[in-house]
Symmetry: C3
Subunit: 130 residues, 3 copies
């Protein structure tokens, strides 16, 4: 029997209505990450590659706060606001997961919660030591 | 070794092509819930807050039919048809999960399956006793 | 303690930036499948029913490569580019999962990664023998 445990990395901007990530057993479910800094400001306005790098950096912060590494990411789901962002996203995804990459779905949505956001990535992660 | 088991709350409108929720081990995967009543009629036409309340009520019915509570929800994924619905959704989400909230992703889609629907929420839930 | 293992069916078109599916414990997370053949060509241009059949065939190939069957699919998430594709998708989904169907969410997105794609389906699958 597993416990359900929120993961709250220090310094991450918090919306009290949800947790950055929640662990249950060997799995960690990570909230959709957008390109913001720790004060909630948008990073990389108009630049899909810069935004994807920031999104992956935030994902890494959460994954490591849970005691895992990016090699433990099992699945990512990506929401882009423009199909033209896909090549930049694909490049950064390749850099982020050079070996044994996760499963992945990518779709183009109408918008994200703030109009400046071009990319949102959520993840399921394996926590091998749990 | 776990079993795979559909959860079928009494009275919920059924589309024979999918299950309201399926349990595997300690996890319950809940289908995307929309704002309808038990006869399939839309509830809260044009009102994102009323629709979100109905969606969360349906989610609660399914979660409780599986023997869990809303405190056991690990992750929700929300699809809105208009970014203008986000404040109403965010308010109801906060009311629904006042403590230890789930991980969450929210995106704006082009549409949902029926044009009256403004919000759809799916969930992954921890079933601690399983 | 479970291992994390990529599933790589022979012949499936590969994007090196992600895995077709990744297994962790009793769960298999399958990447979003689109209607392409093994050389990466689009199958069923303009035909939502033909595309859904191809998507489900690809899903089946991956599920069986992992040692499971379509009866073990726990949850599917479907992204359509047009609400008008829903009846065709719903029909093929019913044919694909005639008994004990998975949980399911279906939304209409702005687009998929290639403009010819009308439907993308990702899945979570139970691997009972793991």
């Amino acid at each position: 029997m597993s416990t359900r445990k929120p993961i709250l990395p220090r310094g991450l901007t918090a919306n009290p209505a949800f947790s950055p990530a929640v662990q249950v057993g060997e799995l960690l479910f990570v909230s959709g990450q957008v390109s913001q800094d720790n004060r909630g400001n948008v990073v990389g306005v108009g630049d899909a590659e810069a935004q994807t790098r920031q999104v992956m950096a935030r994902l890494k912060t959460i994954v490591e706060a849970a005691g895992a590494t990016m090699q433990d990411v099992v699945k990512i789901t990506t929401f882009l606001t423009d199909a033209a962002s896909y090549p930049a996203f694909n490049k950064v995804r390749g850099d982020t997961f050079p070996h044994n990459p996760p499963a992945s779905s990518t779709v183009i949505v109408a918008a994200l919660v703030r109009p400046e956001y071009l990319v949102e990535v959520e993840a399921v992660v394996h926590l091998p030591g749990s």
